[in-house]
């Protein structure tokens, strides 16, 4: 027996395959919306580990989408920094 439903995709926020799949199916969402609804990819690593997995799930749910259609969206900071570090910049 396999346990794919409970398999963690986003390690930082512990979002499972089952949660992502049901959210994607229910809301027919974009990659961005899926992340905002589930918090997948919004954790400590900034999605560096799970972003490509989430994109693949969107491709799976939306039959007409190709990998190139999902925009590569990143926001600074791309590495975790303290508020002190960011605040010091004038």
């Amino acid at each position: 027996m396999t346990n794919i439903e409970n398999m963690i995709i986003c390690r930082c926020e512990e979002v499972t395959y089952g949660q992502l799949l049901s959210t994607a199916n229910e809301h027919k969402c974009s990659a961005r919306e899926l992340k905002l609804r589930t918090r997948a990819g919004m954790g400590f690593c900034g999605g560096r580990t799970c972003r490509v997995s989430i994109d693949k799930m969107i491709e799976h749910v939306k039959p007409n989408i190709t990998p190139g259609d999902i925009p590569l969206k990143y926001q600074p900071p791309v590495r975790p920094v303290t508020f002190g570090t960011v605040g010091e910049i004038k």
């Binding site: 390690r11 930082c12 512990e14 400590f44 690593c45 560096r48 580990t49 975790p80």
Partner: protein, 110 residues
């Protein structure tokens, strides 16, 4: 885990200076210039933290600073990557702990 002191292509590791450091109040030995992650693994420690919310155990995953899974508290500075931080003599390292998620509980109780 043991260290790879001899290697068929790289050769032998030369004598290096030892330093000692603490991880969760236990004292360990490391070689100078070694990362916290490498030193702990060499001492048989794989578990570096637990997930803040669920408490599941975590250790190194990418070992080059991308995944943040190995974050520990170093001399009071939280969320420091054990895979990129070099051990220093007397360093105090603490594992990441489970934390109460007060806001989530409040939302659930509404």
């Amino acid at each position: 885990m043991s260290r790879i002191l001899d290697h068929p292509v790289f050769g032998k590791i030369h004598e290096r200076e030892l330093v000692s450091f603490q991880f969760d109040e236990k004292t360990y030995q490391a070689y100078k210039d070694e990362t916290i992650a490498a030193a702990l693994l060499a001492n048989g420690v794989r578990k570096l933290r637990v997930h803040e919310e669920s408490g599941t155990p975590r250790g190194i995953y990418c070992n080059i600073g991308h995944c943040m899974e190995c974050r520990v508290t170093v001399n009071g500075q939280a969320n420091t990557r054990a895979c990129l931080t070099v051990v220093e003599q007397g360093m105090i390292v603490e594992s990441g702990k489970q934390l109460p998620n007060i806001i989530k509980r409040m939302v659930e109780q509404r």
